[in-house]
Symmetry: D3
Subunit: 190 residues, 6 copies
């Protein structure tokens, strides 16, 4: 397990001092979220890596999309549940609780999304994300057709696929480096 | 299967005209590689998504690292073999053939990396990448210790983990959208 | 999903009135826990089935044993995490939070027990429970020897095996009938 | 392997003398079956554990139910085949041979139940039991609906689920402790 | 299921009359075994296919080898247990019972070979056969080294590998065509 | 890895001199293919084993059949892709490239046959071969019915099953012995 001084099991000290833009970004996180997410601290040993990660993250999770922020967080959690990623389940489980105002929904997506009372469109979206996680090589036209029949457009399908793919990346980076979520998440939005 | 006019099965037309910087970047690809990789064409419906992807790709695969470009491409291929991703096996299998000057090595990594005659350090690196792909939740300190004993440093471990994680993302995005590799790769460096 | 009137998806009405001893038992639950666990309500269509279940449950989880109540609850949660059982993760995750006074430990066992900072004896116990869950046919003398070397006695091994086996039963009954945990568990001991 | 003096690999000596009620029960087994099943001998180190186990076993396998005793034994065998439990395949394979009068049916359920010539209702029941064993978290309303369409009632579904769940418990306890079936079963009802 | 007139689910009538050499071979089977194995009847629609199969079978299972006939039959059964092949488990389970004079050994290899009381050399042989069946791509020099350390020579390793590979073929052909074992096997050598 | 003097990791010297018929056969291979396939050199330590193998191989892959030679080679490659067999993917991937005149098709079958643009009949055939490879015990009448509906006759089904079964044998023998494909295959028909 990572010791308390570091966000991962790797000894990669944070840039010191942080570049000005990074420090501003971290300050904004602290103000808005009450914490700097450890994933950002983990990347903060290298400014280019940090910036590349945050640019992709922000485009996928925060930029305009046919998918709501809650839908994107729901994908994050079901993918992370398949991969049993402690970091992402903690951080994005909290996001689902907060955005949905439904703490039990957050728990259901962490534990077994099939127990959640979802509308068919959302369920189709999450089934696609789970198949991408378990057996991406077996996705075929019929799987995309199911998304279209559920009401998703071409760009929506790209976004579903991109978000599900992204958490298959971050889950693995987090588990491979023993990245630790900020303790604050656990008790929030219960 | 995607029809010949599009790089994926999704109907997401390329920006027209391309932004100037994108056009320049594609021109450079055409000059240096003889082709514009279809993954770039696939992202070219949205400039922010394209730029976020290329920034991350270029940082991971081309920026200075303790890992050689060949080592990074080897990770790409063994991860893609686990995930049976046609796009990435084709494009990065070619890269291994070209960078190593050993076409059979490229085939072995596509088919079954355990048949390749690898030095123990490289084998340890690829075993870590495969475990991350198959069972990332089971990676523990002992797995990282094996990398350190093989001679990798902290930053190297981050880079191995980041590259392996990245291809777990791109493999899934490619399979989910039926992304097609450029035909030119198949015959190159044989 | 079960509707709100019933603890499972099966239409098996509760005995009405409850037998006197059952009513007393439910009253005690209400007093001590603030709720009657839905698993008891699910069994309450048949007094013999209810009594057989509670006798076994109480012997395994509450009777004197070389294992503490927390250890038994920890086994319950890691087995239920393998089986992705919403009911048992909810109810026994709460029990771990309450008995340990460590809410994060409860989350770690739900999400991925390998991320928890466990002493080696506890880890050996949980690894045995997980192997029983995933691949019981492959348990051999070496697995029992590992428990003995960690300090467990013959009777302890029986108890570990019995508790892990029991939750492999209840997880499956709960999932097969869509048994729903009481809502109260989710917010407790956070 | 357990030595010949003990029914399991654990050194848990039988109560000596046995409580009077236990001795009577074992005497009845000896009279009616020609043997005391080793699972009872295995539990006989503790009277409460023995009684809890036998009460549950007798309720599930012998009490009145919409399922015949043969149907319950068939579930026992197909679940045990998935889990490759030597004890339960031996004891309950014998029970299927005896109750059905069809020794080949017993073998088919041990080896691969899909080869047996079953009526559709029975096949649906066994498919449900196998899905519960392999992937209980994926059971949903459609699976219960299939049982209802095959002609099973609410209470029957509970009983199918309970029996399948029970053998997922006993298979694991038997394998975890290397519990040995009585030799007599092997040659019976051939 | 195949009807009683045919050894498989395919409508491939036996040559009529059988070629003289085939008829003689079948007569010898009838005399020595009391039956013509259904696998031979299944192939008897084409003399070249029948002869190619029997030549390979006889070389592997009956010709001189460092492996005894019992050892070869033991491999057949453990491979067939992994593949859950009703035909091969029935026919070769009987062969193990007959050749070993130990009916319980036959049952253990059908049900779970890890419960059998095997000498370490035999166990190593069967573990290799099982790994070949489950994950042949992961066999490496260490696996062959384990066979050599157990006392097997180069030719023995070839024979172990060939027999294990052969039953991975026949198991699949039998299951794919619903090939049925002769009823006589079931009660023999009990 | 096998050293360069031997076709496998086993020290089984070739017969010296080769029997006259064997020498003639090898000479024909050299003339027609430009090489003696290493699988034949691997078997050449024993004339009976070599002859039994070649008789079966030639019957399955070269004799008249309702399946074209290309169809049989396509089955060989998709089975070998499931099993990740370096030898068979190399040799039979080359055969698909040569017989089809479509090098990309060969690559698709090696990497992920679902990406190939196949007619429905061929796809049904390959799906059956893959199910035989992954889960032969689950093949039932419905799977054979799908082949019949796609236009295959009884004898064709036997041939599909036989070829798929055969490569499940050879894949495992090749991986178990570290059999090496001739280097010449890699660059051919690109």
């Amino acid at each position: 397990m990572a010791d308390t001084d570091q966000p991962t099991a790797l000894d990669l000290p944070q840039m010191d001092p942080l570049p000005e833009a990074t420090q501003s970004y971290f300050d904004i996180c602290q103000d808005k979220l009450g914490l700097v997410p450890n994933v950002l601290r983990a990347y903060a040993f290298d400014v280019d890596k940090l910036n590349a990660f945050t640019a992709l993250y922000n485009d996928l999770m925060l930029a305009p999309s046919g998918l709501s922020k809650l839908e994107r967080e729901m994908i994050a959690v079901v993918v992370s549940s398949e991969n049993k990623c402690f970091y992402c389940l903690t951080a994005h489980g909290q996001a689902v609780r907060a955005l949905s105002g439904d703490p039990i929904l957050g728990e259901q997506l962490v534990m077994n999304y099939r127990t959640a009372d979802l509308d068919p469109k959302t369920r189709t979206m999450l089934d696609f994300a789970v198949k991408m996680t378990r057996a991406s090589a077996e996705i075929e036209e019929g799987d995309r057709a199911a998304l279209r029949e559920a009401g998703f457009g071409e760009r929506d399908i790209w976004d579903i696929a991109s978000v599900a793919a992204f958490f298959n990346m971050t889950n693995r980076l987090a588990s491979a480096t023993d990245m630790r979520p900020n303790d604050e998440y656990h008790a929030q939005s219960r």
